[in-house]
Symmetry: C2
Subunit: 365 residues, 2 copies
């Protein structure tokens, strides 16, 4: 029961697999454990987090793990070197010497077989008995459900990410001169959050808030959005409404849980650290969420690097200097400090943003 709690409480997939191996080795009184997950499309098993060795793939039905995966039945082998199905290459690669081996399928009622676990060498030197097999199967039942739950979650999160990319591709298609603005700002903001060592959940928020920071621009007319010269006063006012529209839209979308915070960050990247900016109203200076202050710098960096609104693009160091000159007034000095620290990496970060954009870019015919 304690194991089940521990496994299901783990949010990180790799750490979950490591925990499973650690717990399994401990519970079974063994020297080591290993885990293989099924790649259904490829019809093969892939070793995961095998300590001190690279990923191993085994076709379904081949070797001991492959046979357990194929039949769905556990196998106990007292001396693997006397079993023709055992491939000594495993030991050669890991530098470990396997004697007795217990291999158990990972199955769930929803997905069927999802992989196998192997327990290697009892610490007392004996071989695994029927009781060990039952215990390992019970453990595998818990582990399989924990893995499946985590996989479903990761799949949904990847799909969520994919749809946000699609949304940005749709936005950027309206404004080709923006050259993938949302993707570039996201790449810069992610890098700043990393340099500033924000915790994982905060970085996730910055990631999605950056992607959605200009969502309200779908409510800005083409004649303003794509204008290739500086905006007139009335146009600028209409343009600035986009931040308010981002706020209204994100609130309407009703993001929930951790992601609800995105609506509290994304619309506020045009607020000025020293006071003022838009949209009008709260939050006032010093209450602007850190995520919004990060996105403010990322946003301006890409604006200075692009040729929107008839700008002449600046070289990277010129753009950084221009931002640094406005710290305290327009930008948070802490974020500017992170930007200066990030300087040597900026060309690589920019190239990554460009790649993300090109991957989903829509070319109008």
């Amino acid at each position: 029961m304690e194991v089940g709690l521990d496994l299901h409480g783990e949010r990180n997939f790799d750490l979950l697999l490591r925990k499973i191996l650690h717990r399994l080795t401990e519970v079974m009184g063994a020297e080591r454990s290993s885990i293989f997950l099924l790649d259904e499309e490829e019809r093969e098993l892939r070793s995961k987090v095998a300590e001190g060795s690279e990923e191993i793939t085994v076709p379904l039905g081949v070797g001991i793990a492959g046979e357990v995966a194929r039949t769905g039945r556990s196998l106990r082998i007292p001396d693997v070197y006397r079993d023709s199905r055992f491939d000594p290459a495993f030991d050669h690669r890991s530098g470990f010497r396997t004697h007795s081996l217990l291999t158990v399928p990972l199955k769930t009622s929803r997905s069927g077989l999802i992989g196998v676990v192997q327990v290697l060498n009892k610490t007392d030197g004996g071989s695994f008995n029927e009781e060990d097999e039952e215990l390992a199967e019970a453990f595998a039942g818990i582990a399989a459900v924990a893995i499946e739950t985590k996989q479903l979650f990761l799949e949904l999160e990847q799909s969520f990410d994919a749809v946000i990319k699609g949304l940005n591709a749709a936005l950027d298609a309206r404004d080709p001169a923006a050259l993938g603005h949302s993707f570039m700002v996201q790449a810069f903001a992610d890098a700043l959050a990393r340099i500033m060592e924000l915790p994982g959940d905060q970085r996730r928020l910055v990631h999605y808030a950056a992607a959605l920071h200009d969502f309200g621009k779908i409510g800005v007319p083409d004649r303003i959005l794509t204008k290739q010269s500086p905006l007139e006063e009335a146009e600028r006012e209409e343009y600035e409404l986009h931040a308010l529209k981002t706020k209204i839209l994100l609130e309407r979308l009703n993001l929930v849980g951790d992601l609800a915070e995105v609506a509290k960050i994304a619309p506020f990247n045009h607020k000025r650290f020293g006071g003022g900016g838009f949209p009008p109203g709260p939050p006032e200076e010093f209450e602007i969420p850190l995520g919004a202050r990060i996105i403010a710098v990322a946003d301006e960096l890409h604006n200075l690097r692009s040729s929107r609104y008839g700008n002449t693009p600046l070289p990277m160091d010129g753009a950084v200097a221009r931002i640094a000159a406005q710290q305290g007034e327009r930008f948070d000095p802490a974020v500017v400090a992170a930007l200066l620290k990030l300087c040597p990496e900026l060309p690589a970060v920019e190239a990554e943003g460009r790649r993300n954009y090109e991957a989903v870019r829509i070319h109008f015919s």
Copy 2:
């Protein structure tokens, strides 16, 4: 362990809560159990799936459940009617007579307190002892993690849904004459899938594929997309490319898991059941996924009901008759049969699609 497996394997949230109550009552040898979940914002507990009674809300700190939620410590009460914290209104509403009561907090390491469970009346007539309390706390530990995991999943799924809505709002803003086409098609397709009694995971696929069936239209130039008269031959060819663009885009987005199927459904709603249609190439007739055949009917229904491309909108029965006349040739007779069955509900379904659209509609200034 069996309980843990059973709980974590359950995908439906309400069924999960019911299972928790059923199992808890069984394990504890009690007459009944109830569960309250914390609404952190409202600072109150809400009863869930209490059999035979409506939802009850309890402010944090009030009554027995409220006190356990506030202190995070279990409470055992041998005779609740001698305890001033007990509110007899619970029994009045449920028609149940509570004698002894064990109340245990639901806590996880990630979220802290998420609710409480209550176990009512030992079947042997005695009161709950320390051992019962320990058992209930162990059970509550498993149940809390199962609930939290499911809540995180539901939150992410709701956010995924929200972002798809945002994507559609962005698409529809480009083509105001479409009057929320994606939302309308989704409402019709959802209703058809329901009438056809598709299993839950298939209905989920239809739901998302319908929302994304015109995603490729962001690659269609304005002059074609918003033209208010019938398309010329060359324009029609360019227009038809959108299905191919939907296919390419959805494949690029790299949706994974169950949702990967969306890319295999969404682009094919212009394939004709009797052969032909676009995009050219596989799948050929009779291999068109059912989801795409459903969306084909939903799509045409909204086209006939709207004034795009200079059409005169048809009344609902006229639109249905027009589609029915093309069954076998352009549309799948099974889907047309479902449409005819759905007829009395169609105005309500249409109104629902309209509401979904209005909720996130972007008004250009």
